[in-house]
């Protein structure tokens, strides 16, 4: 996520002010037993001998066992041969906690049965830990290979020294070092003591395994947490416990930027189990990852805190967003999209050509605000120690976070501590979708713990989650094309208007940023001689954040729908038309188009039209696209393709719509080309899941605001797809590739919704331009 560059650095350092502290209520003895399940910090240490004498965070975390051979942060070997891999990215369902260690183990030639996985603390020396933006494999595939190869090379050298032979005659195989000719072999564990005395080789001295010798990369293995998950033993953020912790539930201002006007705690104080009531200050300046403010009820159980919160009597000063109405705002966005915007990419003279054309097609698309709604709400527990003056001296956070370093960066300034001194352990995440890379909830826990002088666990209720999200932007996209005599567009104008994620980080930011526009707008792949790709102004009235697939949600919905509209306008087969629009096999000139390519090197990650056409063709072939023309009314195939997060997907979706408008999705075919794949089954799982999430968004996704307040507050009103709503069969085709690893998790979402709506058009003749589908009558005669 590009927005991860914008870390908060000016958080409010004010202490949380207490109001009307009620008398302490004794905690019932039964509740003390719960703390047995405490996750210890020292079991999750950062490893590596290079860290000895390192920073404060390491001192807090404890040092690795000095008996171990630890040539790299990411791998260590114990004398009994146990290999420990450090998982520094967060596990939220992608399988990353298994996949990256698999890469290390493969290069090391380890026996997977002797590999253990440890979750890392937040520490910038590990590199990027923001598990977001479909970056994990792309960023760390090579790094993990180097970690494994480093350890392997040193073991080979240690064996060579022991045997008095050149290292080149030794090789690693399945947890042993062997000699090429003399038949000798020795286990990894037996070499630990001598290997740890060797110099760590430079990267240039390492030989990475050739692809033909990969044993784990590209092969499936169950995720490491599988058994814990199905037995209920897995620890998520909501399950995290610290000894003597209090449970907090918070009443936050219903309108972003609001403040407490009056507070009456008299009823809340009387609730059984309530220990204290603490007012949290409102955030200052841009929201960043600061606390929203409000009133926290601290109690001896989540339910007691929740009941206590219900009993609070608060009136709010709503502030400047008090009149926000998302229905009216959507109309404003649509109006703005009709007017010339800021041109971010221009080729030829699109407006000139369109103004002279007699054959113009235009359409307007919209997507409402969406919420992340991760299955586990945001939860964290923090333990802040203070000196006699109340100044924070240490802080330990245990949280379901996608980004433990962002927790350090947000919590440190909030407590007036150095960010590196904040110790952050990461639990499993009950999904994230981008919500849990925004650690406002960790700041809340830390501020409350400092105030209470004991650990505090903050649980967001589902209502909190939906009413106080960093929402996906509401949007309008306007498209216009001039069609030539051959039935192809000679000019394409597209204008996207939505509040920018930048507004969460810079107060008043009101224009979509180039990196947002690049997700499906300015990276338009079609071979059209005249282009004008523009964005328009929109002020944010809620916290705007990135949600899985981010701006591809609205921008690819428009691009891929409009291409289908043009195909039908030209009376062409949509698949054939798309191929022609994409044009000749070529690499898009990203320099000319001023694209940042997610900061990926353009030679390694070109925008390759041939690969995009390939996934499109493969999806069409698997779906037997030629059936499209022969399907009876009420059944239809829709097609779309996109490149997002550097990965390529082609989607074909088959729908059935009954005469009275009931939609079902019997089958979906998706081809994905994401370069080298580490865990094929997890890629399939991600694409299956992306299909369900995109189904949720397309069918039901809508979070509305009236008087500045979120209207939908739970799954009864913010509806998401259940099993009966989703595609009954999802066919995932992974393109074999030698290309460097690209995105997967977010990639699978981008062209799903437009392919679905294109299929609905094919089935019914009804063109859906405004999501969600639940607002439309799909019946036909």
């Amino acid at each position: 996520m590009s927005a991860s560059k914008h870390y908060p650095n000016a958080l409010n350092e004010n202490a949380s002010a207490s109001t009307d502290s009620p008398e302490l209520v004794d905690i019932p003895s039964v509740s003390r037993r719960i703390f047995l399940a405490t996750v210890s910090a020292t079991s999750l240490v950062l490893m590596g001998k290079t860290m000895v004498g390192g920073g404060a965070a390491l001192a807090n975390a404890g040092l690795a066992d000095p008996e171990q051979f630890a040539p790299d942060f990411f791998v260590s070997i114990a004398p009994d041969g146990t290999v420990t891999c450090l998982a520094h990215r967060s596990e939220m369902g992608t399988g990353i906690r298994t996949s990256l260690p698999r890469v290390v183990a493969d290069e090391l030639e380890a026996d997977w049965a002797q590999v253990k996985i440890q979750q890392a603390i937040g520490d910038k020396r590990l590199g990027d830990q923001n598990t977001d933006g479909s970056n994990s494999i792309r960023f760390f595939f090579k790094r993990m290979r180097i970690a494994g190869a480093t350890a392997r090379t040193m073991l080979e050298r240690a064996a060579a020294a022991k045997w008095g032979v050149p290292a080149a005659e030794c090789y690693a195989e399945n947890h042993q070092i062997k000699h090429k000719t003399n038949g000798k072999s020795i286990g990894f564990g037996e070499l630990v003591e001598s290997a740890r005395k060797l110099d760590v080789p430079k990267e240039s001295e390492l030989q990475l395994k050739p692809r033909a010798k990969w044993r784990f990369i590209g092969k499936d293995v169950p995720i490491t947490d599988l058994n814990d998950i199905v037995t209920g033993k897995a620890i998520f953020g909501i399950d995290a416990r610290m000894d003597n912790q209090l449970f907090a539930v918070i009443a936050r201002p219903p309108v972003v930027g609001g403040k407490v006007k009056t507070l009456d705690t008299s009823e809340a104080k009387k609730m059984v189990g309530v220990v204290d009531i603490v007012e949290l200050p409102a955030f200052q300046g841009a929201p960043l990852f600061q606390q929203l403010g409000g009133v926290a009820v601290l109690a001896n159980s989540t339910w007691a805190a929740w009941k206590g919160r219900d009993a609070l009597k608060i009136t709010w000063d709503d502030g400047e967003n008090a009149t926000y109405d998302s229905e009216a705002f959507a109309q404003q966005l649509k109006a703005t999209a009709q007017k010339p915007g800021q041109v971010l990419r221009s080729v030829g003279d699109a407006t000139g050509v369109i103004s002279k054309s007699k054959n113009i097609v235009s359409a307007d698309y919209s997507v409402p605000h969406l919420a992340h709604a991760p299955m586990e709400t945001t939860c964290a527990v923090a333990d802040v120690k203070t000196d006699t003056t109340g100044k924070a001296t240490s802080c330990h956070v245990l949280a379901a976070t996608q980004n433990p370093q962002a927790v350090q960066q947000a919590v440190g300034p909030a407590l007036g501590m150095q960010q590196d001194d904040v110790l952050v352990n990461v639990t499993l995440l009950g999904s994230g979708f981008g919500r849990k890379s925004k650690p406002d909830y960790c700041v809340e826990a830390a501020l409350l713990s400092r105030k209470m002088g004991r650990p505090v666990h903050v649980t967001w209720t589902r209502e909190d989650d939906l009413k106080h999200d960093y929402y996906h932007a509401i949007s309008a996209v306007h498209c216009e094309a001039a069609m030539n005599d051959a039935g192809l567009p000679s000019a394409w104008l597209q204008r996207a208007v939505y509040p920018t994620i930048g507004s969460t980080f810079v107060a008043g930011a009101s224009t979509p940023a180039p990196w947002e526009a690049e997700m499906g707008l300015t990276d338009l792949p079609y071979d059209i001689p005249n282009l004008s790709l523009e964005v328009g102004e929109a002020k944010a009235h809620v916290r705007i954040g990135w949600l899985r697939s981010v701006c591809h949600i609205q921008q690819n919905f428009a691009v891929c729908s409009f291409a289908d509209e043009l195909a039908h306008h030209a009376k062409r087969d949509p698949f054939e038309f798309l191929l022609e629009l994409l044009g000749k096999d070529r690499k898009l000139d990203m320099v000319a188009a001023k694209l940042a390519n997610r900061d990926a090197p353009m030679d390694e990650y070109p925008y390759d039209i041939a690969r995009l056409k390939n996934v499109l063709r493969r999806a069409a072939e698997k779906a037997d696209w030629k059936r499209a023309k022969t399907l009876p009314k009420g059944r239809g195939l829709g097609i779309a393709c996109s490149r997002s997060f550097l990965g390529y997907t082609g989607h074909v979706i088959e729908v059935e719509v009954t005469k009275d408008g009931k939609l079902s999705i019997p089958k979906v075919w998706i081809s994905i080309d994401a370069g080298i794949i580490v865990s094929p089954d997890r890629v399939r799982a991600q694409i299956e899941g992306a299909s369900i999430m995109a189904t949720s968004q397309a069918l039901f996704g809508k979070l509305s605001f009236k008087n500045g307040r979120a209207v939908e507050s739970n799954f009864d009103s913010y509806v998401v797809a259940k099993m009966k709503d989703g595609p009954r069969e999802i066919n995932v085709d992974i393109v074999p590739s030698e290309a460097p690893p690209a995105g997967v998790g977010e990639t699978g979402v981008a062209s799903f919704a437009p392919a679905l709506c294109n299929a609905i058009f094919a089935a019914t003749g009804k063109r859906i331009r405004d999501l969600p589908l639940s607002g439309h009558d799909l019946s036909w005669a």
Partner: protein, 152 residues
């Protein structure tokens, strides 16, 4: 003093109000965190447990309503993950993040007890739990696999 029976053991309710939902009693008082909170209004099924063998949503079931009934949670479904539903879940690598899966498993286990051979439509109707990761296609297959195993 009132007691609650969970996984074959009885627990005395001391200083716990009887209007407390079973979910929070299990999680915060007994420390059995396998049962998950998802919505609090019986819309998502993450908190599903068995009450006398039937699936109920513990987020809307108070201790008073539980009364003398036998509660079974994931901690009591099997000792070691060997229930046929758990085995099928592992066999088909159903979980992604895993958060909702306990509720899914408890729901499936209860359903298969009363209907050993569910159709696709029955599975879709009865398995109404929400999974935001989108593991539905695999859940459907895992339920069928477990049904097959259990009918042996």
């Amino acid at each position: 003093m009132p007691t609650i029976k969970v996984n074959g053991k009885s627990y005395e309710l001391k200083d716990v109000p009887l209007d407390t939902p079973l979910l929070w009693f299990l999680r915060d008082h007994l420390g059995m965190t396998g049962t998950k909170y998802g919505c609090g209004v019986s819309e998502c099924g993450a908190c599903t447990v068995h009450l006398n063998g039937l699936a109920v949503q513990s987020c809307v079931t108070t201790l008073e309503e539980v009364g003398e009934s036998e509660v079974t949670t994931i901690e009591g479904l099997s000792k070691d993950g060997s229930h046929p539903v758990q085995k099928a879940w592992k066999e088909l690598n159903v979980p992604q993040c895993g958060y909702c899966q306990v509720g899914q498993i408890m729901m499936a286990a209860a359903m298969l007890k009363s209907n050993g051979n569910p159709t696709d439509v029955q599975i879709e109707t009865e398995m109404w739990n929400i999974c935001r990761c989108g593991t539905y296609p695999r859940i459907r297959e895992a339920v069928k696999a477990a049904a097959k195993e259990m009918s042996r």
